[in-house]
Amino acid sequence: MKSMESDSEPVPAAEPVIALRSLTKRFGSLTAVDSFDLEVSRGEIVGILGPSGCGKTTTLRLISGFEEPDSGSVWLNGQKVAGEGAWRPPERRAVGIVFQDYALFPHLNVAANVSFGLQNVPRRERKGRLSDMLDLVGLAGLEKRYPHQLSGGQRQRVALARALAPLPVVLLLDEPFSNLDAEMRGEVRLEVRSILKRLDATAVFVTHDQEEAFVFADRVAVMNDGRLEQVDRPEALYNKPATHFVADFVGHGNFLPATVADGLAQTELGALRVPGATTDGRARILVRPHDIALIRGKPSDGSLVVRERRFLGSEVEYVLELPSGQQIISHQPPEASFQPGDAVGYTLREENLRLFADQASDSAATAGGTGSSS
């Protein structure tokens, strides 16, 4: 069997370490992954973000070889490992996996767990590799402990060390932080990210937590119903969502119904000059909570009324009501204090607004329901 660390074949800089091409996987009548395309370059961390059941874990399992694609292909390091007649079983893919529940071997101690994948490393090198790995994840001295004697965070680091020890071509992480306490999660995330960056590791992870995806990933692929909605840097996803789904799923957002004519979008907040308002018709305008600034004592054309005020610490969240009854969310610095019942004026950062044309009347109906949700 080929050793896992035989990723020494020179890879051209342009060659992605992972390439998924029109990858499709069906379970009975359900299409879990639908013509999915993704490329990951060397040293990059890509997060697959989506609601539960969107097919993100299946995508990961297609890469690792625990599922076989129905069509499309999986390429690792320039070699086709699955699809279109090719098949390489998981044990020969040199893919490291951090499982959601870690899947540590309970009958083996930390040292044996981490060394498990080193069977093809010459015996004299194993010890060094083991101690390197334990140093890397900060578990030196715990070699003799068994998994049940470790804390959740320590188990997670053992899982990471075990997956990294054979120096895999790529590292896959399935909801890696979901089993940690909320307080620990932030810290562990940054720690793991810095470890991966130090190793220049190529990694794909799966999460349903947008904040996690933003903090941990270099690029985020948003997935919905088995399809890729958008893949981009977190800032770009937030600021320039390509689809209504991305805009809604990533960050808080208000959607204002609008009618576009002559390059202007007519909304309840006035005629807005929105980027991309070129085709006439019905549309929806995304207004992020920070893109609307409230002004005291200046009720402009349409009057906004404060319905609720929620103190969040560094800022204050207001629930505002439009004349139509639609509610929108706005975040303001704590200095400006408005009270429920106040009528307020506003200004909008028009250059930040995004427009999504309504495709069909039924999609408009569903979008309308989520209009003021966050």
Partner: protein, 559 residues
Amino acid sequence: MTAARSTLAWDPWPSRVRTAVLGARRPPIGLIVISLATAAFMMVPLVYVLYRGLSADAEIWERLWETRLPELFANTVKLVTAVSLAAAVTGVALAWLIVRTDLPGRALFSWLAAMPLAVPPYVGALTYIALLGPGGYVEDWLSAITGVEGRDLPMPEFFGLGGATFVLVIFTYPYVYLLAAAALRTSDRSLEEVAAAAGHGTLSTLRRIVLPLLTPAIGAGVLLVALYTLADFGEVSLMRYQTFTYAIYQQFTARFDRSAAAMLSSVLVVLTIGLLWAQTLTQSRRRYHQTGSGKPPHTVRLGRWRYPALAFVLLVLSLALFIPIGLLVYWTIDGLTDSSTLNDVWSYSDDSIYVYAWNSLWTAAVAATIAVLAALPLALLATRFDSPLSRWLARFAQAGYALPGIVVALSVIFLLNRYVDALYGSTLVIVIAYVLLFYAQAHQAVAASLAQVPPAVEEAARSLGRRPERAFVEATLPLILPGLVAGWALVFLTALKELPATLLLRPAGFDTLPVRIWINSSEGIVTLAAPLALVLIACASLPLYLLLRRTELGFRVIT
């Protein structure tokens, strides 16, 4: 704390990981073939008995219906009902007192209360016939006090339904006790706290909260008791109570009426299947999802009921353990003082206690080993590759669960006579019968332990460079080993005590401990039976101890 033991305490994998990947990939063809063969083999006696019953002459059916069937049916149903009810009450009461109250000595009692499982009921029958039967110790003692002639004493009839029920209850209640105790230990105490906060006292809480939540466990325990009672032959034959098993034995050995024996067997099997079916019906309707708080349930203070409760527990344990075993020890010592008995029992010959013990041990051990090895592929298929096919195969393979020993023995005899005459009269046949009878226990133990190992552990091994077989050996096998041992111990324990199949299938001159005990008991030679029974109980205690020590899995395995 050893590593293997501590893995049991730690269940790091929530069930959602398990279900997510099941059925994802197709099972290897070899696994399917082996599983098919196993299931087909295990089905043979059941299919054969039902076939014989259905294909029999309507005339014989009519004759049976007019003569034996109504009485046998009524007797069997009466016995099963009486034993089930009494065992349920005894088992639940003991479990509650031992697990949930401040009963003195409850740590010791929690062990002792399960130990009657090591005493086969036919051994119990032997001791109680000598004690309570006509001309027994109690009668002698009473007539010595009162001066009334023994047969004139107003003693209740011991043989028959009353005696048979009494003896079966005191040796089968541990099934209910074990399952109820396990459920009581893990039950959520906050529910009881809610009841207490709502103003319910101990008894009211017990009736409204504790017992209803316990119903599934009690139901499972009672099912085991009922199945045992339906299948029991040794005890009812010694207690001279006519049930199906006893009648089948008589038809076969005394009247050589094979057709009638086969037909009675098919009725008995239908009864057993009906019982199992009723159980699945009630089980699916009454399933409570318990979300444990992780806090141990609180202890009820017995107060002035302390000593009455203690007296009750001691009474049950005396009846089930101290008195029978004491009597066996007494008889054994008595036999030592008599030189001819001493010679009969303890000197070595081809026909001695050592040979019987060895025969019992090796047949049970070989059968247990075969059963566990046979269960491995099928359990793997059923837990790792969930599909209608694998579910049905697993169900079919456990057909022996519904088969009383005497029925399996009969169908093995019929089939061997007809097709493989060469095997008839070889000890191998006994081993085959044990495997057919007790495969289900091995299967459940293996499947339960496999279900506790999430596929992700195997996948982790594969992603770290192991081929599927290596991943199984290195990652899964060490984790299920305790379950395999438990399954082995369970089959070994049950096979060790098995009487009717051994009695009918043994080659001439091949005796096991149960066979010899039964023969000596039937002839009333207690000094010969007692030492054999003690050795049998000692041999059975070891696997039972192993099973009880593995609290978590052990309790589940016994079902």
